[in-house]
């Protein structure tokens, strides 16, 4: 069963397998450091299914939940 970044629980860390989604989005996510192999930790979730904050390569970056769902772990 494939899991993605939006399935992470707060504080959980996982390694990225693939980055999917629309080409523009997938490229920008990778340019931000979300590349296959990178270790990502979920650190915060906004209310009502809002954006989620992840730490990757020492930075903290917020993504919309639907975008995070394009990144498989």
């Amino acid at each position: 069963m494939s899991r993605n970044l939006s399935d992470l629980r707060n504080g959980q860390e996982a390694a990225i397998r693939t980055v999917g989604g629309h080409f523009t989005l997938s490229q920008r996510l990778q340019e931000l450091g979300f590349t296959p192999g990178a270790s990502v930790r979920l650190v915060a979730k906004a209310a009502f299914g809002g954006a989620m904050a992840f730490q990757v390569r020492g930075s903290t970056i917020a993504l919309r939940r639907a975008d995070a769902a394009c990144v498989e772990i």
Partner: protein, 648 residues
């Protein structure tokens, strides 16, 4: 400019929020506002490198920086420094990133001069996130640019558990790396020396890729992770791998429930403080202008000069400048937010809400700065990557209650709310801001149905910068600068319109003036709003600038009855009646109608000009016509509706 054509161009490039503007200010002696938000700079700026003797003489933290001890020989003014918006990658994905990239490939079209590319790049590398920012360094070196790396924020990196060695980085990259502190100006002499050493006579022709493949991006990161890990001087943490979790502030601010509460409190506090904290300062300004008017009035003999000075200029300027303290406090509060790092958190929290109405979390900062002025707000919208979301944001920005409306709110709320109830006044002002948000949301939803642009697949991503305690200097200096420029800009317009108003109200005669004829001609427009011709002409004048409404009213009523003007504009409004009757002009319903009108009407020609530039003629004029028409319709509906239910 002949000398700037000869000057060599050095472009500052780097990720968003890595300190380019701080460095630019130090290198050129400018004082552009620096903000702790990724995407604060959306336009390039160019300035001359000031002579090295003027630069702060702080010693570099590492004594063994590249080219140590070389005395800089660059002649002041022979080098131009260019600040650019932050970029994530060499392939641009939003308007602000395109602005930055055009500085690399189409310099001639951006700043003129003979060259397409700059002579040298100074790429800023944020030591707190080297693994993320090194790929850009690799891409510009590959593209063939002569490059110097300025290593910033090493002090903050130490807090995270590592410390990058500029010498080691320099060996690994094969280009000079200089450690600097852009905020304090430390390390600048060494940076300037390196610039001098690397600066070629003529710029190279660089080749910038238009796309990167997934493999290239991933390879860049593998390389960057490796370089970052090998450049650590002290500390055991690997910058490419460490994800330590949230700090204590973020655990509260980004908490799903507490975060929302804090967000609501911060926003309410921001607008509430504008009204409540300004009170004493406003009384002071009012006293000063009252005194000034009385002094001038007692010195000058009766006549047209006295009328022009006292009833025209002093009454007009005073009526608006009473509200300058409110505006200064708004700028100060916004500055505190900007400098702290909260804005990116706010963007994250409201993305859910904003995306529901067709906007984006990245619309938050443009909309918030719309509370100060629509013009920088429209430019800030360049950071929104999707065209559809950007246009919708631009559509509603003029509906944000900008600082030019503050004097209008102050006057109208002053009429509605008794002066001994500042708490109610603060709440009423917060209510006005809330109403503008509700209305803007509705317009965004409707606009989204009308606007025929495909949604783009750009999503929402924002980097959350490290928290910084706001520095007194940055916040106070920048809000002072913004207030002064407001006073200058608004002051000139008000002065001009007040004088013109006084003239047309006084000639041919005060009883039968030119303004009266115009006003009576347009009366059918104002009568449905419950207003007479005097308020009507003030509304027309407000198209020069919204705050002119207040000064124009002041002039109208002080020309009409000079002895009443000392009691202030408010009492003149309470006594104002329709000509030849005892029916009051200003009632609860007509004032509510005016509030609705000012909430919606696009009365700012500069905004129209900026919208033409950011989008198109059709968009800009359509927006203006639409919002003015809508304002008139809804104001009329408000007045007539209130009267129908018995409100005076």
């Amino acid at each position: 400019m002949s000398d700037s054509a000869d000057a060599k161009v050095v472009v500052l490039l780097g990720a968003p929020n890595c300190g380019k503007t701080s460095l630019y200010n130090h290198l050129t002696g400018s004082r552009f506002k620096t903000v702790n938000y990724p995407g604060a700079t959306v336009e390039y700026s160019v300035g001359k490198l000031r002579s090295v003797g003027d630069a702060p003489q702080g010693s570099a933290k590492s004594a063994d920086c590249h080219t140590p001890g070389t005395k800089p020989q660059l002649e002041a003014g022979s080098v131009q420094i260019m600040d650019t918006p932050g970029i994530i990658s060499i392939v641009p994905r939003s308007q602000d990133e395109e602005v930055a990239l055009s500085a690399l490939t189409a310099l001639d079209s951006v700043v003129g001069g003979p060259h397409k590319s700059p002579h040298l790049l100074v790429v800023l590398l944020d030591a707190t996130q080297p693994a993320r920012h090194l790929p850009l360094v690799r891409e510009v070196i590959k593209a063939g640019f002569p490059t110097v790396v300025a290593l910033t924020m090493n002090d903050l990196a130490r807090r995270k558990g590592w410390d990058l060695d500029p010498n080691q980085l320099s060996r690994l990259l094969g280009i000079p790396v200089v450690e600097i502190d852009g905020r304090a100006g430390i390390g600048l002499p060494d940076l300037i020396s390196s610039i001098e050493v690397m600066l070629p006579e003529t710029p190279v022709t660089a080749r910038i890729p238009t796309t990167l493949s997934d493999e290239q991006i991933q390879d860049n990161f593998r390389w960057a992770d490796d370089i970052a890990a090998r450049s650590i001087r002290n500390g055991s943490a690997d910058p490419a791998k460490v994800n330590p979790g949230l700090g204590r502030i973020d655990q509260v601010v980004l908490h799903p429930v507490l975060g929302l509460v804090i967000f609501a409190a911060v926003m309410t506090g921001l607008f509430w403080s504008v009204f409540s904290a300004a009170g004493p300062f406003m009384d002071l300004t009012e006293t000063v202008f009252g005194w000034l008017g009385a002094q001038v009035g007692s010195v000058l003999p009766d006549g047209w000069l006295k009328g022009l000075l006292v009833d025209g200029i002093i009454a007009g300027l005073g009526a608006v400048f009473v509200f300058v303290p409110q505006i200064a406090i708004l700028f100060l509060a916004l500055g505190l937010l900007e400098d702290s790092g909260y804005l990116a958190r706010g963007a994250m929290i409201v993305d859910r809400l904003l995306s529901a109405i067709g906007l984006n979390g990245k619309s938050f900062v443009p909309l918030l700065s719309g509370a100060a002025c629509a013009i920088p707000a429209a430019m800030a919208a360049r950071t929104i990557p999707g065209r559809r979301e950007r246009y919708l944001t631009l559509l509603v920005i003029p509906l944000m209650s900008c600082s030019a409306r503050l004097p209008v709110w102050g006057l109208l709320l002053g009429f509605l709310v008794p002066p001994d109830r500042p708490l109610v006044g603060g709440l009423a002002l917060t209510g006005i801001y809330l109403a503008s948000l509700v209305f803007a949301s509705a317009v965004a939803v409707v606009g989204g149905k009308i606007l025929r642009i495909e949604p783009s697949h750009t999503g929402f991503q924002v980097e959350l910068p490290l928290w910084r305690p706001p520095t007194f200097r940055t916040v106070v200096v920048s809000s002072w600068d913004r207030t002064v420029s407001y006073v200058k800009r608004a002051g000139l317009t008000i002065l001009a319109v007040s004088v013109a108003f006084w003239v047309f109200m006084t000639f041919p005669s005060p009883e039968n003036s030119a303004m009266m004829m115009l006003g009576k001609l347009l009366d059918p427009l104002f009568a449905p709003m419950g207003l007479d011709w005097k308020v009507g002409v003030a509304l027309i004048a407000a198209f020069a600038a919204r705050e002119v409404f207040v000064s124009a009213l002041a002039v109208v009523y002080s020309v009409q009855g000079a002895e009443e003007s000392t009691d202030g504009l408010l009492s003149a409004m309470r006594n104002a009646t329709f000509d030849g009757t005892s029916i009051p002009v200003f009632t609860v319903s007509s004032v509510m109608g005016l509030i609705v009108f000012f909430l919606i009407a696009l009365q700012c020609l500069t905004t129209v000009a900026v919208m033409r530039k950011e989008v198109s003629n059709r968009f800009a004029f359509g927006q203006m016509a639409g919002f003015v028409l809508l304002a008139w319709l809804l104001a009329t509906a408000t007045v007539q509706g209130l009267r129908l239910v018995g409100v005076p």
